[in-house]
């Protein structure tokens, strides 16, 4: 009974919300990235979502090898963060749409996606940075779904896309007539910690964006089996799983557009924003 009304996929590089940090980037790049986020916000607000399902990644500040879920759904009443003090990003607090989150988990158990759940899921920059641009009033409840993208073995690219599609099916079966947006954050190419840290693969990033815009995700799965994606896009590039989840969740008639892409050397990240609208 609920419906998917919009989608956004975007980078969550902490520099976007750090001052200084944001200013390290060249002015033209900063302005184009900011404009992309502003347009995504416009499209999101025009869709009037009652809730936002947000696919994001963990950076070992919520999950670790002692208890490692592939897909972790936050189902409490609210979420706050950042979970760790290392990155100087703003603190944030937002309501959690627990009813929808619980429904997704329950449907998953019946339908073949073994989600983990948390009543106390904290936020990290993966949620805080994008939502500070997309919903700066923090007034839209979220269903956070944290995807493992840094601790091998991680769910496959295809699996993440298909989980996005599964969640869309849950939305359609949800009892409340909600308008639901889907956001995915992370990427694009970046290396976080290995010797290649600072490298960006703009060629991959633009190719990937075009595949999503054209709904040609099968080409992504075919070209990057197993751990091949990390070799060309970095360990941070594994976060495109969240972009694929959004793509999987979008109804066929939605218009996909790339709103910004900048290889920002000072942020060490191929920084992008994409949106799907009716």
């Amino acid at each position: 009974m609920a419906e998917i009304v919009a989608g956004v996929a975007c980078s969550h590089v902490p520099f976007l919300a750090m001052h200084p940090g944001f200013e390290y980037a060249e002015e033209g790049q900063r302005n184009r990235v900011t404009a992309g986020f502003a347009r995504a916000r416009e499209l999101l607000e025009a869709a009037r979502p009652d809730a936002i399902v947000i696919f994001s990644t963990d950076h070992f500040d919520r999950c670790f090898f002692d208890n490692l879920p592939a897909f972790l759904v936050g189902v409490g009443d609210e979420a706050a963060g950042p979970a760790t003090p290392t990155l100087p990003i703003p603190r944030a607090r937002v309501a959690v749409a627990g009813a929808l989150g619980r429904f997704v988990v329950s449907e998953g158990m019946e339908g073949g996606v073994d989600f983990a759940l948390s009543e106390e899921l904290a936020l990290d920059h993966a949620e805080i940075v994008p939502l500070s641009f997309l919903t700066p009033r923090w007034d839209v409840p979220i269903v956070p779904i944290v995807v493992n993208a840094f601790a091998a073995p991680m769910p496959s690219l295809r699996r993440c896309h298909d989980v996005g599609a599964f969640v869309a099916g849950c939305v359609a079966r949800f009892a409340q007539p909600w308008r639901v947006a889907v956001v995915g954050t992370g990427g694009l190419s970046h290396w976080v910690g290995p010797p290649e840290t600072g490298k960006i693969n703009a060629e991959f990033d633009r190719w990937f964006l075009e595949r999503l815009a054209r709904r040609e995700v099968e080409q992504v799965f075919a070209k990057y089996p197993r751990n091949e994606l990390e070799r060309v896009a970095g360990n941070g590039g594994n976060e495109v799983r969240d972009w694929l989840a959004v793509a999987g969740a979008m109804p066929p008639g939605m218009r996909a557009e790339v709103l910004a892409y900048e290889p920002v050397a000072q942020w060490a990240t191929g920084t992008g924003v994409m949106a799907w609208s009716a």
Binding site: F150, P195, T197, N235
Partner: protein, 88 residues
Amino acid sequence: MSRYQMDKFLRDVNRDQTLARRWREGAAEVFDGYALSAEERAALARWEVRRLYEMGANPLLLLLSSMAAGKSMRGYIAALRGEAQSRA
């Protein structure tokens, strides 16, 4: 060698500012409670990031814990690339 124990220490440094500070100050007791080899303790105590990376420490945790302990990203990258070898 225990990659899990190394990663656990680095994860804890990222979460706990007191631990990060004590590590930065060179306090030896920060390693108590972690089943680390002598080689791992030595590399962690001296913040030998390239050695830690070669021993299999998770690179994201290496970077985040280094920043939590007051290192800049630039300083981390310089230290990591110091001897210009990469892990196979």
